[in-house]
């Protein structure tokens, strides 16, 4: 530790720019107080439970069902976001049409719109008398208070991530290899699958991972639309909150740690996958 501090001092001396001391003080203070201490306390609290107690709290049938709903709905939503995101990014980058800039700006709405508003609006749209529900409910499609509803709002909140990651990569794509493929007789579908898609696949995968991470943690919008029925439409964050409201702190903490491990390990897996894809491409 002290060796680290002395090297830090040495580095600082080498730079003539001011402000290292005060900046590192502010950064360390905020980072420690806001991120490191809270997450450590969470982990320590879960560790203090001991393995049997932890399992008893985190692995109840209701909790397992909640993980399954969370994971299932998030994976489906992230996949839908990735496909729709690729489509929208493609249109925004490759086709010029009136209203393109407006459409581009609208993509950011889910980042700026509070998730509670999204949840409220989606649930009123898809109920039987809602704008969309009046057409869908007679067909047997229940968009509100159902698993489908969870997926719908998760697609809403995660869509910008899927689009904004793919868009710059599509923009910087070299058109020459595409044209070469077409000249050599490949049709459009072949060109897309063999030339374009491999080039943008890492970006699509990154978008999927970010969408998934966002969807797994989402609470505000889901709580409005899911109906929150245990074993059916209860996601893990909702279960954490209901345990907290019963003052069952140990159980809430255990479930939170599982959720945290889930999102972090998923990100690690997809990161590794992505590096492999990048290596193959070279």
């Amino acid at each position: 530790m002290s060796a680290e501090i002395s090297t830090t001092r040495a580095m600082r001396r080498r730079s003539v720019l001011p402000g290292f001391g005060i900046s590192i003080a502010i950064t360390t203070l905020v980072m420690t107080a806001m991120v490191i201490i809270p997450l450590s306390v969470l982990a320590l609290r879960a560790a203090s439970l001991g393995p049997t107690e932890f399992l008893a709290a985190a692995w109840t049938p209701r909790a397992r069902a909640a993980y399954a709903v969370s994971l299932g709905a998030s994976v489906v939503a992230a996949a839908v976001s990735s496909v729709c995101g690729l489509l929208v990014a493609w249109v925004l980058v490759r086709i010029d049409f009136p209203g393109r800039r407006l459409l581009d700006s609208l993509v950011d709405v889910p980042l700026a719109l509070p998730t509670a508003v999204a949840g409220l609006v989606y649930s009123t749209l898809y109920v039987e008398r809602g704008w969309l529900g009046r057409f869908l409910v007679p067909l047997g499609i229940q968009g509100a208070y159902s698993w489908l509803g969870i997926v719908l709002v998760l697609v809403f909140v995660s869509l910008p991530f899927a689009i904004r990651v793919v868009q710059p990569v599509l923009e910087s794509l070299d058109r020459d290899s595409e044209e070469a493929a077409r000249m050599l007789g490949a049709n459009r579908v072949q060109t897309f699958l063999k030339v374009i898609f491999p080039a943008i696949f890492p970006a699509v995968l990154t978008g999927f991972a970010l969408a998934l991470a966002r969807a797994l943690g989402e609470y505000g919008s889901v709580v409005f639309i899911s109906g929150n029925m245990p074993f059916k439409t209860e996601i893990a964050p909702v279960l954490i909150v209901s345990r907290l409201e019963e003052f069952a702190y140990a159980e809430a903490t255990a479930i939170a740690v599982v959720l945290l491990a889930m999102s972090i390990s998923l990100l690690v897996v997809v990161n590794a996958l992505q590096q492999r894809v990048a290596r193959n491409a070279q």
Binding site: L17, I95, L113, L125, G217, Y219, G220, Y249, A256
Partner: protein, 309 residues
């Protein structure tokens, strides 16, 4: 801008693709956004105004949101500038760890973040007894709301600043120091003017997220009407009480704020693009003029940020 080439799709395919993209955005974003305002004003502007201004709990929620969000944004601005300065101007052990840590709040569920705060500051938490004996309240009170909001918005300002500060490089600041400027002078006369649009961009995004945060705030607030309900929590409370029109009125204010945010974001992004072009032009100038001018040596660019909105 798409140029006509051999790879340009035929007009019919293009039209179908545009229709599909507009369909996706329309169904997922435009229809819900339009319906917020339609539902909020369904009974006329007078009813809308009554729902907002004549309900003391709603009034308090608006006031509380307008207090908590700026506090969280202020903490994030100071943290963002300090951290971006460190990362872009100094090399020190733990630098890449710091960059990773900045993104952690993005991958933590807001509910989990709120729970962590309860475990520290709650009545049965680590500091609970100490706080109680001092008579301070963090959980179920506004300091908890500020902490929770700060956590979820922590990456937003710093993420905007790091790439911009790295692109600008330290030359102007080094020149200012060599001419005898103090640290504060360097910051206010050189750094701040250079990063102002990026900073504003981050602040606008952080503010939007702060005003709309639900999960983390829900856990720490205890949602006491007229005391610890922020606007998004008020939306939920009214909805639970089957007062959907009033809930929609509050939601429409938040949606209006989101639209203002997007317009501001659009304007700021144009300024940022213009400045990036200017910077590029300035960089290429010495080479084209003399041919002997050495490009400013800022060291290898260390772009560590993925391009995420």
């Amino acid at each position: 801008m798409p140029k006509p080439t051999i790879t340009t799709a035929n007009p019919l395919t293009e039209r179908l693709l545009i229709a599909a993209a507009v369909g996706v955005i329309g169904l997922l974003i435009i229809v819900p956004l339009a319906s917020v305002f339609a539902e909020a004003f369904a009974e006329g502007p007078a009813a809308w105004w009554r729902a907002l201004a004549h309900d003391p709990d709603t009034r308090h929620a608006i006031w509380l949101s307008l207090t908590v969000a700026p506090l969280a944004v202020a903490i994030n601005t100071i943290f963002g500038i300090a951290t971006a300065w460190l990362v872009s101007r100094f090399r020190f052990p733990g630098r890449s760890l710091l960059i990773t840590l900045c993104d952690v709040p993005f991958s933590v569920s807001p509910v989990v973040a709120g729970l962590a705060l309860v475990l520290i500051f709650g009545r049965q938490g680590l500091l609970g007894p100490t706080l109680a004996s001092l008579g301070w309240k963090v959980i179920f009170s506004w300091p908890g709301l500020v902490l929770a909001t700060t956590f979820v918005t922590l990456p937003l300002v710093v993420r905007e600043l790091i790439p911009v500060m790295e692109a600008i490089g330290p030359e102007e600041e080094l020149a200012a120091v060599s001419l005898g400027a103090s640290g504060w002078q360097v910051f206010t006369r050189v750094t701040l003017p250079n990063i102002r649009w990026a900073l504003l961009h981050g602040v606008v995004l952080a503010n939007a997220r702060a005003m709309g945060e639900f999960g983390a705030v829900y856990v720490v607030s205890g949602h006491i009407a007229g005391l610890t309900d922020t606007m998004p929590l008020r939306v939920e409370k009214l909805f639970q009480e089957y007062r959907t029109p009033a809930s929609m009125a509050v939601a429409s204010v938040l949606a209006g704020l989101a639209l203002v945010t997007l317009v501001a974001k659009f304007v700021i992004e144009r300024q940022l693009e213009a400045e990036a072009r200017e910077l590029e032009a300035a960089r290429s100038l010495p080479d084209t003029l003399a041919g002997s001018g050495t490009p400013p040596d800022a060291g290898p660019p260390t772009s560590t940020q993925a391009s995420i909105p």
